[in-house]
Amino acid sequence: MKYRNFLAGLLITIPLLAYLLLPIYNKKTPILLGLPFFYFYQIVWLIISAIFFYIAAILIDLKG
């Protein structure tokens, strides 16, 4: 149970870190479909966030 909670916490924390580490993504290149890295990095992380958060939600519910 502890292991599941830890994993859920980790899955929620990773996307937050991805956004907090601004210097990593505050860059112009590479460019995708005309969008600088700064923009498409943050959009892609929305999708990853939803996947990670959903798995975390399932893990939290499992502990019953």
């Binding site: 929620i12 996307p15 937050l16 956004y19 907090l20 601004l22 210097p23 505050n26 860059k27 112009k28 479909l33 005309g34 969008l35 600088p36 700064f38 923009y39 943050q42 959009i43 992380w45 929305l46 999708i47 966030s49 939803a50 958060f53 959903y54 975390a56 939600a57 399932i58 939290i60 519910d61």
Partner: protein, 492 residues
């Protein structure tokens, strides 16, 4: 001719909107004389419906109008709206199910019900309730501003735009008041689904069509190369904006109201987890503020507006100058009800606070029926106060007050969010923290704006520019923690 086609499509869809709003009554029916049936839809929203409703709550005309206009004018700083949403839902999926469980068990309808029951202080209850109501008012006003931008764009060929759009706004609000009064949250949920379908369709069509027609983001960024990355010195501003906005989001009464209408804590958590997907739409609309630089006809149309109005006109103008008239009517209706639907739920949440957490404090023997009746009535009044506010106060002031609203709503964080986890907090410490947080927040905002019209909420610090909400909340938190725990340590 083009205008007539746009208006016809707009009106036709608006009639469907009205029909959906009123038919909410028969949707999973319940006794609408009970407040939790009217205001929380009887708590029967599953994952998908709650997804639409909370989505409608959070992505409003402010998002469709203010974020793109910020990006248009200032550039990447306003893209903080994207990480803000991701962080907000991370917070929501942890905190809100907890609030939901307590609320369902004890029959709370507002977040302030929880504060009242936990800290047992009349002063604190009323302070937190009024903070919510005051923060909500400019938020509703902004919905109206967004709706007006749509009407202005659509009615451009007419000479007396202001008069026609004011009348149109009043009629829309009467209809809205009519169905929220009779159907409550059910009507709002059904219309929220219609709104989302239209808006998502619009976003997808625009984001594909414009790059094909005008060369897309390559061209836009060539016209505005400085918008490619966040300028040096704005990193702390970006981070503090998105972190604080994320904390503020679920303190707003309408967001709490939306969350509490879910069917179970489990469904609420899954809904929140999936809501970052909704934000992809938001991110793409935000990018319209840059894409418009690639579209020459849109840029020249925008030049005709005064600089103060231009920002709000970015999205409507971009749509109108690139799309066929029928599609413009379709998209405009989406953005228009994208303001109307959230305005309804905000008014409803504010009315609940005023009745349950302010009025009832003075008149505790209020019956359930009288309470519901009063909340319904106040939600109508509140909508018209917000509408009147927009007619009287210039748009720029309403936006200023919205900026301030974000800072003041943060001062309710210790009582609501921390109260869920730390039962030892002292009510007097919470009251004092609230007072000083408010004073410091408002003082610094006034100071950076030289005590004039509020346009900035960033403050220079040794670390760089920081959102003033951080400082005000830090002071509040320090007082709450010291006031709650230090006396205990001394005694021990």
């Amino acid at each position: 001719m083009n205008t007539i086609i746009s208006i016809s499509v707009f009106l036709f869809l608006f009639i469907i909107f009205i029909y959906l709003g009123f038919s909410g009554k028969n949707f999973r029916p319940g006794d609408l004389n009970k407040l939790h049936e009217w205001a929380l839809g009887g708590q029967r929203l599953g994952t998908l419906l709650a997804w639409f409703l909370i989505g409608a709550d959070l992505f409003t005309a402010y998002t469709f109008i203010a974020v793109p206009s910020g990006i248009f004018a200032v550039g990447p700083l306003f893209f903080f709206a994207v990480p803000y949403v991701a962080v907000a839902f991370a917070i929501a999926m942890i905190v809100m199910p907890k609030l939901f469980v307590v609320s369902k068990e004890k029959g709370y309808i507002t977040g302030v019900d929880f504060v009242k029951d936990t800290f047992n202080s009349k002063t604190l209850t009323i302070l937190i309730a009024l903070t919510g109501v005051i923060a909500e008012l400019p938020y509703i006003a902004l919905q109206v501003i967004g709706m007006r931008a749509i009407l202005t764009s659509m009615l451009l060929p007419f000479s007396n735009i202001k008069a026609i759009s004011d009348i149109a706004l009043i009629i829309s609000f009467v209809i809205l008041a009519g169905f929220t009064y009779t159907t409550g949250l059910r009507g709002i949920t059904l219309t929220a689904i219609m709104k989302d379908i239209i808006i998502f369709t619009t976003v997808i069509v625009i984001i594909i069509a414009i790059p094909l027609m005008y060369g897309g983001f390559h061209v836009a960024f060539k016209a505005k190369p400085v918008y490619s990355t966040l300028p040096a010195g704005f990193a702390t501003a970006y981070l503090s904006f998105f972190i604080m906005s994320a904390f503020a989001l679920f303190l707003y009464p309408h967001a709490i109201n939306g969350s509490l209408s879910s069917e179970s804590a489990k469904k609420l958590r899954r809904t929140s987890a999936l809501l970052p997907l909704y934000a992809i739409g938001l991110a793409l609309i935000a990018l319209f503020g840059i894409l418009v630089y690639a579209v020459k006809p849109a840029m020249s149309a925008l030049d005709k507006f005064s600089p103060s109005l231009r920002g709000a006109m970015v999205v409507p103008t971009l749509i109108q100058s690139t799309m066929p008239p029928w599609f413009t009517g379709f998209a405009f209706l989406g953005i228009f009800i994208g303001g109307l639907v959230p305005a309804a739920i905000m008014a409803m949440a504010s009315a609940n606070l005023l009745v349950r957490n302010v009025y009832k404090e003075f008149k505790p023997d209020l019956s359930h029926e009288a309470e519901t009746k009063l909340a319904k009535l106040l939600s109508v009044i509140f909508k018209f106060v917000a509408l009147g506010f927009v007619f009287v106060v210039p748009a720029t002031y309403a936006i200023s007050l919205q900026l301030l609203g974000g800072i003041i709503i943060l001062q309710t964080l210790p009582a609501i969010f921390m109260g869920l986890y730390m039962k030892q907090l002292k009510k007097n410490a919470l009251i004092l923290g609230w007072i000083l947080g408010m004073i410091i927040g408002i003082y610094f905002v006034e100071k950076v704006n030289n005590f004039g019209l509020i346009a900035k909420t960033l403050m220079p610090t040794p670390f760089g520019l920081i959102f003033i909400g951080v400082i005000a909340l830090a002071v509040n938190l320090a007082i709450v923690l010291i006031g709650s725990y230090v006396p205990r340590l001394i005694k021990a």
